[in-house]
């Protein structure tokens, strides 16, 4: 069954019929061709599909597409602001990226974290990223990358050890 959906994705309005049983992830990937969000598990357990829904980081595989009616969705493709760029640069420069499959979801989640906490500490980062699986890096550099980006974005509040 198809139903009407009205949504803003990456700043652009979209309106049309969607499969009512579709997930937001499948809608983004299959209908809009926004493949930056990855399908790692389709069960909300790996974080590779995380996007921003009205500014909140969500597992898009768990959201029925009709639930985002009149909402604003932002995917990795639509995040080109300074904070995101700093995160991306930091992830690459400290070696927090290996195969890259989990990285877009991590960047989106980290971007949401930095919007709330200017200079997150180790515990805040671990809490924010616990839903994200990475099998390549052993995670240590992911925390380091987020701290580095935060210190570059908000040098005035950054701790001395960062």
């Amino acid at each position: 069954m198809r139903q009407m959906l009205k949504v803003t994705v990456n700043g652009y309005p979209w309106e049309g019929l969607v499969k009512s049983d579709q997930s937001l992830l499948d809608f983004l990937r299959d209908e809009l061709g926004l493949t930056g969000a990855k399908k790692g598990c389709d069960g909300g357990e790996c974080g590779a599909c995380v996007v921003l829904l009205d500014g909140r980081a969500v597992n898009s595989c768990l959201i029925p597409v009709l639930d985002v009616n009149n909402c604003e969705v932002r995917t990795i493709e639509g995040l080109q602001d300074e904070q995101t760029n700093q995160l991306q640069d930091a992830f690459v420069s400290v070696g927090a990226v290996q195969c890259g499959f989990c990285t877009p979801g991590m960047i989106v989640a980290a971007r949401a974290l930095l919007a709330e906490v200017h200079n997150p500490g180790e515990e805040e980062i671990r809490e924010a990223m616990v839903g994200h699986l990475c099998r390549c890096t052993g995670y240590t550099r992911i925390a380091a990358a987020i701290k580095l980006a935060a210190s570059r974005i908000n040098p005035e509040t950054a701790g001395p050890e960062r």
Partner: protein, 778 residues
């Protein structure tokens, strides 16, 4: 320009971090269909009949193929001689998840609905699950075409174990059990295939070895190799799991059948139940040690559970049987190995290739012997450690060996002497509670321990494959002066493209931004067996180095002719060629000149690296120098054990790796961190929960891989032993970095609380039970 030894971030890192990197599941081709697999719900059953008539009535279905309406040749992975697989089950299914039928339809939902409508009538057969029972006479055969459930067995001896044991002061004997481990790459298996009018199939695959894929899939499909082209896509994690995989060939089959492009992607549950996880093993080991700590004799029997098919498990068994014998100067050895079929998920390659399994046994039993001798385990290892220049008991020529350095540096780095306890404190909860104060209670409840384990690996080894197993590379310099590197080894995310670019830029005198490294395309790239066995940097890196040197010679010859100088007097630095009398030309200018000097030809450097003095092992005796270099590792684990619950927490891993020479510290340390994380998962957390042939833990919430909150501090120490065969002295790293972690943690647990766990994973329950058995507490 010296780029070797520099921290250079991934050259494709930004593409990944922005979500712009296109993975296989992201591909869309015009008219593309979606393919899905119908899998067996039974571990062992005869297929009586298949009725697909209702499925065909589903609008949008374009193909349904079963083993009942098609003949499929028997095949296996490249070079493996027991041909026990077919693309789809013909008479029998062999495990829960075995491929029974494939469907192609206009979209995923239609394909899924068609699968539901295929009716398969099965007659269930008695299954075999336990490898030990499967070895007995008169049990049901997993494969009717085989004489027994043991497709491979091996036995070899060195020296005289009787004499060795007779001279031993202590003899320790133990049985170790290690289970399945799922690779857990974040990108599930995926394939896109398209067939042209001549019947030639192009496959876009996230695959570690396109070359081996082409060989294997041609055999599986019964078509010539030149009818298959494999284009490597970015690999979203491999770890050994992304070598040959049946889904790839099934996708090609559907593309041939329909004449339309087809995409297939495993669901995560399919990937768990029909992937190729680490080979479980039962390892019986008996070790004799003289009073001075000299290892005197070792006897082992290894039973490896292959699951339903052999795949690479015969090679993994061989590796488990004999590689670890070369770690120490041990001369008297007797080993038996059996590969056994069971009606369970087929197993395959996973980082370490049998070595993590066997090193868990060896490095645990060494600590047991040290304990009996009253000797420091580090001292015991140092007394026996293989050294540079040794020819080992199996004929390995060890041209560089930093094992002793690794042991010394990891133990010193961890504060080994100070932290090692000598007494076990078996206080019960009641006893502790009688003591005053919360502090004393906590102190007695949580016990800290420290443990050491070592390992080795091959790097650039002679495989059992009959093909050329060196590496080759071609580097063209285009008209704009950009170097494009074509090599047969793949990047799994570890950064091989970056390392190759670094080597090419270093040799050519170019900024690394002027070097591109292509993904492998079997129509374009030179021959290479791909990435496994720690071969990419050692072999591929040498080929890139040679090709770049060749391209450099060509560039300088053109520059010399243009400037009237001689090549020897010219240097290239940062893309600029300079020489005496103010000669100054950019590489881009030379590339333009080359067009006329070479009559339109390109500068094209070629490099072929043949690992010297390397042979396949002797088929019976398993003797022979199988690799051109051998990496060595020592890891120290520091743990905290909760005596009341058995819970183990790893506080720190100090990992010292002999990598020969560090080409890129940033990427090398990244390999250590990731491997240790997988090692911690293997040791303490990951269990596929296979019972009665069924994988119970087939989601990431049930199958417990380490998350960010599970990670301890990892202190990485890179030791440089400068291997004469490695490029700039470098040798492999990624596999041995996982191998010793399990034993290091198990030894640390013993050090903390005095119980020896001999079965992986080391769950809290096992530790709790062992504590209760040993001390009657808590």
């Amino acid at each position: 320009m010296d780029l070797i030894g520099r921290d250079i971030p991934l050259i494709d890192g930004k593409e990944k971090a922005t979500g712009r990197m296109v993975f296989t599941a992201d591909i869309n081709r015009p008219g593309m269909l979606y393919g899905m697999v119908l899998r067996s719900p039974y571990p062992h059953a005869r297929i009586v009949q298949i009725d697909d008539s209702r499925a065909w009535k589903q609008p949008g279905v374009r193909a349904i193929i079963t083993g009942k309406n098609r003949q499929f040749p028997f095949y296996s992975v490249a070079g493996q001689k027991v041909l026990d697989e077919q693309l789809l089950a013909t008479d029998k299914v062999h495990f829960i998840g075995d491929e029974v039928a494939v469907v192609a339809a206009t979209d995923r939902d239609t394909a899924a609905e068609a699968l539901r409508l295929i009716k398969v009538e099965y007659e269930q057969l008695p299954p075999v699950f336990d490898p030990l029972s499967a070895m007995a006479d008169g049990v049901p055969l997993v494969h009717q075409s085989q004489a027994s459930n043991i497709p491979y067995r091996m036995e070899f001896s060195r020296g005289d174990i009787n004499e060795g044991f007779a001279k031993s002061e202590v003899i320790v004997e133990e049985t170790f059990n290690v289970g399945h481990q799922y690779q857990g790459y974040l990108e599930p298996h995926a394939a896109v295939a398209e067939c042209d009018i001549s019947g030639r199939v192009t496959l876009w695959l996230p695959m570690q070895s396109p070359t081996l894929g082409r060989i294997t899939y041609a055999a599986a499909l019964g078509i010539p190799e030149n009818k298959i082209r494999i284009v490597q896509m970015p690999i979203g994690g491999g770890f050994g799991g992304k070598l040959e995989y049946k889904l790839h060939a099934l996708c090609a089959l559907l593309a041939k059948e329909t004449g339309q492009p087809v995409k297939m992607v495993n669901t995560r549950a399919e990937d768990f139940q029909a992937g190729l996880p680490r080979v479980p093993m039962q390892i019986k080991m008996k070790l004799g040690v003289r009073s001075d700590g000299t290892l005197a004799a070792k006897e082992s029997e290894i039973i490896a559970d292959s699951g339903a098919y052999v795949n690479y498990s015969h090679g993994i068994l061989l590796s488990a049987c004999h590689r670890h014998d070369n770690l120490y100067r041990l001369q008297n050895i007797h080993t038996k190995g059996y590969l056994v079929y069971t009606n369970k998920v087929p197993t395959g390659c996973f980082r370490g290739f049998g070595n993590p399994q066997v090193h868990f046994a060896l490095e645990s039993i060494l600590d047991m012997a040290a304990d009996r001798l009253g000797m420091d385990p580090a001292e015991l290892r140092l007394r026996n450690a293989t050294q540079t220049g040794d020819v080992t008991v199996h004929g390995w020529q060890v041209l560089s060996c930093g094992l002793s350095d690794c042991i010394n540096q990891s133990t010193n780095g961890a504060g080994w002497q100070a932290k090692r306890l000598t007494e076990i404190k078996p206080d019960t909860k009641d006893q502790v509670e009688k003591k005053a104060g919360q502090e004393a209670l906590q102190e007695a409840r949580y016990a800290k321990g420290i443990g050491l384990a070592c390992c080795l690996h091959v790097s650039g080894n002679r495989t059992f494959l009959p093909y050329f197993d060196g590496a080759s590379c071609r580097i063209t310099v285009n008209e704009q002066g950009m170097a494009i590197v074509f090599v047969g080894e793949t990047d799994l995310g570890q950064g091989a493209r970056t390392t190759f670019a670094q080597i090419a830029a270093h040799e050519l005198g170019l900024p690394i931004t002027d070097v591109m490294v292509t993904l492998v395309d079997t129509d374009i790239n030179p021959h290479g067996l791909g990435t496994f066995g720690d071969r990419a940097t050692t072999l591929g890196g040498n080929a890139v180095r040679l090709a770049a040197a060749d391209a450099r010679r060509q560039i300088l010859a053109i520059a010399a002719e243009e400037t009237g100088s001689t090549a020897e007097k010219l240097v290239i630095n940062d893309g600029i060629i300079t020489g005496e009398a103010g000669i100054r030309l950019s590489l881009a200018e030379i590339a333009q000149l080359a067009l006329s000097q070479l009559a339109g030809g390109h500068i094209c450097g070629q490099g072929v690296y043949i690992p010297p003095d390397v042979t396949a092992v002797h088929p019976d005796t398993k003797y022979g120098n199988i690799s051109c270099s051998y990496p060595f590792v020592a890891q120290v684990a520091e743990v905290e054990v909760d005596r009341w619950t058995g819970r183990v927490k790893v506080n720190r891993i100090v990992a010292a790796h002999d990598v020969g020479k560090v080409i890129n510290p940033l990427l090398a340390n990244g390999q250590v961190d990731g491997a240790v994380a997988q090692g911690i998962g293997y040791t303490l957390m990951e269990d596929m929960g296979i019972a009665n042939g069924k994988v119970s833990n087939k989601t990431f919430s049930d199958y417990n891989m380490p998350r960010i909150t599970d990670m301890p501090e990892i202190k990485s120490i890179l030791v440089e032993s400068n291997d004469p065969n490695g490029p700039y002295g470098a040798k492999g790293l990624a596999e041995p970095a996982l191998t010793p972690t399990a034993a290091a943690i198990a030894n640390a647990i013993y050090n903390a609380v005095g119980v020896r766990i001999t079965e992986l994973p080391v769950t809290a329950e096992k530790v709790f039970r062992a504590l209760k058995e040993r001390f009657g507490c808590p």
